[in-house]
């Protein structure tokens, strides 16, 4: 059964601002689905529509088999959501916050007490449970926010950039928790700017650019679609770089090339075997290679080909103050 289905989903904030411009999704149960894109690409708007926080301009969407437009209350019962900015009440304690969240989902008082204790242990906040949230570090707030999203045991969880701003240790903790829940059958819809996050966690990803999905598939399939390996060649001038690009575009086995500054990236199968031929061809054309690197193609290469630019990660959020793994 499909966990999330969207058909020609559109959100326009005004005739000129097409935040989401007709996307289709069909995400099976039990998958970790990654939505990759830069800030402003439409990822969060999509999450807000699928979780009933925002009404689509047009199109349709079903989450957990339930229509988000005609039955939003039931949709909210089957989804858990942790948005990019943790939405917590500083004047409540962690325990009070989790308890209120559970009770608002209609969970009985006794069951709420059981689940709150269990989740506080899972997110390692048991010791801080009775402190006001205003005293929590960024990492603790993120974990509490995640616990709030899980308190009603949803089948489908939306995580909007769950690890943005987190230090590497806390980020690893969140990843492990996602993997564990997914093994238990929970479907995840994850937006991220981190390629390694998408690569590690996601069964399938979609790349979003300016409101549209520009590439979709498993990370392995997407990488292999542009060639298994990448040879990166650096030249002394932009002119030489362009000449090399023209030459290598037609080289045997090359599936694609991309130029950035004074470098050409060549996507090719069996790159190690192809290197001597590439270097000789360039030498015959009078082009001198300054540097050569051989690597497997990455999701960044996929992103570059799909969007025409590298994925710019918003590093501003990653301040130590926001991190705190305590």
């Amino acid at each position: 059964m499909a966990a999330i289905v969207a058909t020609n989903l559109v959100k326009h904030f005004s005739p000129d601002i097409r935040a989401v411009d007709g996307i289709d999704l069909d995400i099976p149960d039990g998958q970790v689905f990654g939505f990759l894109g830069q800030n402003g690409s439409g990822k969060t708007t999509t999450v807000r529509m699928l979780t009933t926080l925002l009404r689509p301009t047009s199109g349709s969407a079903h989450v957990g088999g339930i229509d988000v437009l005609s039955d939003p209350d039931r949709v909210r019962e089957v989804v858990g959501v942790a948005m990019q900015d943790v939405g917590l009440d500083d004047i409540q304690t962690g325990r009070e916050q989790l308890t209120l969240q559970a009770r608002l989902f209609g969970i009985s008082a006794a069951e709420t007490r059981r689940r709150v204790e269990q989740l506080l242990d899972v997110v390692t906040l048991a010791d801080a449970a009775d402190r006001l949230v205003s005293g929590y570090s960024g990492g603790m707030k993120r974990r509490l926010d995640l616990a709030c999203a899980l308190i009603h045991q949803p089948r489908i969880i939306f995580l909007d950039e769950p690890t943005t701003g987190l230090d590497p240790v806390t980020r690893e903790e969140v990843w492990r928790y996602v993997e564990r829940l997914n093994r238990e059958g929970v479907t995840f819809f994850l937006t991220t700017q981190y390629l390694e996050e998408a690569d590690r966690l996601c069964h399938d990803i979609a790349i979003m650019d300016r409101g549209k999905i520009v590439a979709k598939g498993s990370p392995a399939d997407l990488k292999s679609s542009i060639g298994t390996d990448r040879i990166t060649l650096a030249f002394a001038s932009a002119e030489e770089t362009l000449q090399a690009n023209d030459l290598l575009r037609g080289f045997d086995g090359v599936s694609d090339t991309a130029v950035t500054e004074n470098e050409v990236a060549v996507y090719i199968r069996n790159g190690a075997a192809a290197v001597p031929g590439v270097v000789l061809a360039l030498a015959d054309a009078g082009l001198s290679v300054g540097e050569l690197r051989l690597a497997q193609a990455t999701l960044d290469d996929v992103f570059l080909r799909a969007t025409g630019h590298h994925l710019q990660v918003d590093r501003k959020a990653e301040t130590p103050a926001a991190g705190g793994a305590s």
Binding site: K11, F13, T51, T52, L53, L54, R55, D73, R74, R76, E77, V79, V81, M83, D85, V86, G87, L88, D89, D90, I91, Q92, E96, L100, Q101, R103, L104, F105, G106, L132, D145, C148, H152
Partner: protein, 254 residues
């Protein structure tokens, strides 16, 4: 049932918040008590001679109660903007609880706080010598009217908060009360008003509210005044609740 349970839970949360941040409530209590004392001091001595009000302390008691209730009722909107700005309101919106309960809990908390403040103001008025024509039962009705007005009036600030997300704009919900109060028989009976002011005052629901509450304090069980006062509260509630519901729907339409 779910609506009532959620409203109760969110009322408790809002009251807990007030206990943890008492400064706002102290400010809300100061204003009506200050104005009550100053008005009695300035006008009380000449009220009987000037416009025939013998018990001016009783005459001013409903004014102090409404001032206190309106001040408290402005708190729901401001607190809601804080929830909106922190993102917590969105987290509440993601629960499956009836959405009107998410704001109604805060409004009921304001009514409870207004009720508590009204007990303080009433006790103070009785201590300084205000009369009370309808006894203990009348006092209970007066306190309930105060709380009901706070509940109804808090809808203005909440509607503005939902629409704008701005604490400054939500604060304006409280300020709207001042023209309404001064265009009503606040300092003197309506009978001594100039005709133009009387005409305006007769269109103002606060006039009927004040006259109903004053009947309990000064005149006795004047059912005509009480029914009109109750109708004024219901009228305010219908308008503010409708605005609140519309603003709540607007938050998801983007």
């Amino acid at each position: 049932m779910r609506f009532l349970t959620s409203t109760f839970l969110l009322t408790i949360r809002a009251l807990r918040e007030s206990i943890r941040q008492p400064a706002n409530e102290i400010g809300n209590a100061f204003i009506p008590i200050f104005f009550y004392a100053v008005t009695i001091g300035a006008v009380g001595g000449v009220a009987a001679e000037a416009f025939g009000v013998e018990d001016y302390k009783g005459f001013q008691l409903p004014v102090a109660l409404l001032q206190g209730a309106a001040g408290v009722a402005g708190g729901a909107g401001i607190a809601l903007t804080q929830d909106i700005q922190s993102g917590y309101f969105e987290k509440l919106m993601l629960t499956s609880t009836p959405r009107f309960a998410l704001v109604f809990g805060r409004m009921v908390a304001d009514a409870v706080k207004a009720l508590i403040l009204s007990v303080v103001v009433l006790a103070m008025a009785l201590l300084v010598g205000s009369g009370f024509a309808t006894g203990v039962v009348g006092m209970v009705v007066l306190l309930l009217a105060s709380g009901a007005f706070a509940l109804a009036y808090s809808g203005i600030g909440v509607a503005i908060a939902l629409k704008t997300g701005s604490p400054q704009a939500a604060q304006a919900g409280f300020l709207i009360f001042f023209p309404l109060l001064f265009l009503a028989p606040t300092f003197a009976p309506i009978e001594v008003f100039q005709p133009w002011l009387e005409f305006i005052a007769r269109l103002n629901p606060v006039t009927y509210l004040l006259e109903g509450m004053r009947a309990l304090v000064i005149t006795g069980w004047d059912w005509d005044a009480l029914v009109k006062g109750a109708a004024a509260i219901v009228g305010i509630a219908v308008v503010t609740f409708t605005l609140t519901a519309a603003s709540l729907r607007g938050r998801t339409s983007g």
